[in-house]
């Protein structure tokens, strides 16, 4: 009986010690978080994110973690690069970004791919706000107290301008945001006027054949549909809906049946991996117009690949596609000049001719791997 009592008191002592330890650890953690928040305390303002959620953030906002591959370049478009404290590893992995903004490697890259967020590295970068898509944002909200503003991640169409204004509002760079939108409007108006003479039956049909087998594509309910129409081409996948997340594929992408593609018989096929010869030499593609007319082209890669809803590609991709489809109408347009102009006027980067050529040839690659952060 005595022994048992001693056991009980031992157990109590263990519980007590554990409780004290846990309390101390919690307190230390809490104070840490508090101090890191307090460091930037003072004035705040309320922003509304793309989900309509209100988020209170410090004012001025100087440390923002920007997640989501396509939106990485928005900081350059808005001239808000100095306000970033963490980016995606894909932005850091972009060869072109490294060439244009070498200090990018010093920023931590806590987010590799969707759903992969290194929380410790994120905390170390001391962000005041994380801007992320649904999945990454929910991870950050669950594990930290950092405010999260949600951005668009479904690849749906018609959201680009809204998204640009959302970012411009967050970074308080409204004028730069409107400057970009004006550039985009002008490009779209130019394409419309240049191609309006093309009769309906002469419009070229485009199929984006991504992946090693060239059958993965973006459907008619994604941003890509608008781009193809902006180039006054016909979207082969117009009737297919692929927006949203599919198992094993990036959001917005889906695989098509080979026979379906043969049935569409596109005039132009845009690929993102391999070489056009892969299709020219494969017998099952032989009846397709794009193969018979040697109209398989590799998609350009700039700061980010062009088959994503980025600011850069929204302007340049339709122009590039229109020139591929209707070269006789765009004889006076030099794509190298156009790419350089956009980078200079919108992102304040002075590309060399070689860099612009490499962008158009899809020569830039995205290097990846666990790139160490600054800390």
């Amino acid at each position: 009986m005595v022994k048992q009592r001693r056991n009980t008191s031992d157990r109590r002592r263990i519980v007590l010690v554990t409780a004290i330890l846990v309390t101390v650890v919690m307190a230390v953690l809490f104070v840490n978080v508090q101090t890191s928040l307090a460091a930037s305390s003072g004035k705040t303002r309320t922003i509304t994110d793309m989900n309509g959620k209100k988020v209170e953030v410090p004012d001025p906002l100087t440390r923002v973690a920007l997640f989501g591959g396509p939106t990485g370049q928005i900081a350059y478009v808005l001239g808000a690069r100095d306000q970033l404290c963490a980016v995606t590893s894909s932005l850091k992995g972009s060869e072109l970004v490294r060439a244009l903004d070498p200090t990018i490697v010093n920023l931590p890259g806590p987010r590799s791919t969707s759903g992969q967020v290194n929380i410790e590295e994120l905390l170390l970068s001391e962000p005041q706000l994380v801007i992320a898509g649904d999945l990454d944002g929910s991870i950050v909200e669950k594990k930290t107290k950092i405010p999260v503003a949600y951005t668009e991640s479904t690849m749906a169409q018609g959201v680009l301008r809204q998204e640009i204004r959302f970012y411009a509002h967050i970074f308080q760079k409204e004028a730069r945001g409107e400057k970009y939108i004006a550039y985009l409007d002008k490009m779209e108006a130019f394409l419309r006027s240049r191609t309006k003479s093309i009769p309906e039956e002469k419009r070229k049909k485009v199929f984006n054949g991504y992946g090693p087998a060239h059958l993965v594509t973006l459907g008619g309910d994604t941003f890509m549909h608008e781009r193809i129409l902006n180039a006054r081409c016909v979207d082969a996948t117009a009737s297919v809906s692929t927006a949203g997340v599919k198992e094993g594929l990036h959001s917005g992408l889906s695989e098509m049946s080979m026979e379906q593609v043969l049935g569409w018989d596109p005039d132009i096929i845009v690929i993102d991996s391999g070489k056009p010869e892969d299709l020219y030499n494969e017998p099952k593609w032989k009846t397709v117009k794009a193969i018979r007319n040697r109209q398989v082209v590799k998609q350009p890669i700039g700061i980010f690949i062009w088959d994503r809803p980025t600011a850069e590609a929204a302007v340049l991709h339709p122009l590039w596609l229109a020139k591929v489809a209707y070269p006789e109408l765009f004889k006076d347009i030099d794509l190298v000049t156009e790419v350089k102009r956009f980078y200079r006027e919108i992102m304040a980067f002075n590309l060399t001719d070689d860099q612009a050529h490499d962008i158009l040839n899809g020569a830039y690659s995205l290097r990846f791997g666990p790139v160490a952060g600054a800390k």
């Binding site: 590799s112 969707s114 090693p212 594929l249 098509m256 391999g274 892969d278 980010f304 690949i305 791997g369």
Partner: protein, 348 residues
């Protein structure tokens, strides 16, 4: 059902005459073959399909577009053949392995072939990005993984079958980890999704060229396994008993492993990793005809072909986009397996 069942016990199964059953399955395969050729995302009238097919023998005046001909001869037929070959091959390999390892939970992937093939495909996507490289490397790495498993199992001089399973787990884990590492360092924008997607399996990329190379491998492997099926019965009596009967168990084991591995590696190189077929189909076979491998193997071969062709019809027609077939075979296979376990009267 803990009483051990002798493989030759004819009372098991649903009690139908095996000859009649095989005939029925053969007819069923013809039926699904015809259906498979008739349906697809493109609606082609059956009459036209028959005319196009017949035009290869009788020189009809061509009233159809070259596209339709291509759809039939370059897409539907290769895809159908790939379904038959892969379904039959994986099922007969699964049945043989279950006999060899005397374990009903064994699938053809037990020796690490799919883990190896997965790594090969990931490497090819990362470094070459074209489909031919994916096929070649997945095949080579599938074989390599099983070779390593086999080599590793001979290092330890104990029960060979047990060592094979354990070595398979080790090698499989090693290759899977390497694939995961590649996925981790791969470009998360394009390459990584391609790797993940390929691993889900699909017959969408089957072409005549692939079938010419890979088809014979699967056919030869299947025929050899069918040819030696009565010896698998001897093996399933147990190592000692079989040896006492004067059977060279080592040689039979090596033959089964070689055939099943060639079949699985070839299957993976055409269609990615299609799971559950090699595991579930032999059980369906046992439910039909009992555990005697002499009857079971041909039945499993046919049921596997019918099953995969049917599932592939769903994969390519149910939605406007392709459904990865690996998802469907698991979705259909797992409940069937659960049901079979509950039933469990087929014996083993």
């Amino acid at each position: 059902m803990s009483v051990p069942v002798h493989p030759e016990d004819k009372r098991m199964g649903i009690g139908v005459d095996p000859g009649k059953l095989l005939l029925f399955l053969g007819v069923l395969l013809v039926v699904v073959t015809v259906i498979s050729l008739m349906v697809g995302r493109l609606r082609i009238p059956p009459g036209q399909i028959i005319t196009i097919l017949a035009s290869r023998v009788y020189p009809f005046k061509q009233t159809w577009t070259p596209t339709l001909e291509s759809v039939l001869f370059d897409v539907r037929i290769p895809r159908l053949l790939a379904g038959i070959l892969v379904g039959a091959g994986l099922s007969v390999s699964g049945a043989s392995f279950q006999g060899l390892f005397r374990n009903p939970l064994v699938s053809p992937h037990i020796l690490g072939v799919s883990a190896g093939a997965g790594l090969g495909a990931a490497l090819a996507i990362l470094f070459f990005g074209n489909f031919a490289a994916v096929q070649l490397l997945s095949f080579v790495f599938g074989l390599l993984a099983v070779l390593m498993t086999y080599g590793l199992s001979t290092v330890y001089r104990t029960t060979p079958v047990l060592m094979l399973v354990l070595s398979g787990m080790i090698v499989g884990a090693l290759f899977s980890a390497a694939t995961s590492l590649l996925k981790y360092i791969a470009d998360p924008v394009n390459n990584m999704p391609s790797i993940v997607f390929w691993l889900l399996g699909s017959l969408n990329n089957a072409s005549n060229k692939d079938l010419l190379v890979v088809g014979p491998i699967i056919v030869i492997g299947t025929v050899v396994l069918l040819f030696i099926r009565w010896r698998i019965n001897l093996l399933s009596m147990g190592e000692e008993d079989a040896r006492a009967l004067g059977v060279d168990t080592g040689r039979i084991r090596a033959t089964i492993i070689l055939c099943a591995t060639m079949i699985s590696a070839a299957s993976v190189s055409i269609g990615g990793i299609i799971g559950w077929i090699g595991l579930v189909i032999p059980h369906i076979g046992r439910l039909l005809v009992g555990p005697d491998n002499k009857v079971l193997l041909p039945v499993a071969t046919l049921v596997g072909a019918i099953y995969l062709v049917t599932v592939d019809v769903i994969a390519r027609t149910a939605m406007e986009t392709e459904i990865p077939i690996g998802i469907l075979t698991a979705l259909v296979g797992a409940p069937i397996f659960a049901y079979l376990l509950r039933k469990n009267r087929s014996g083993w």
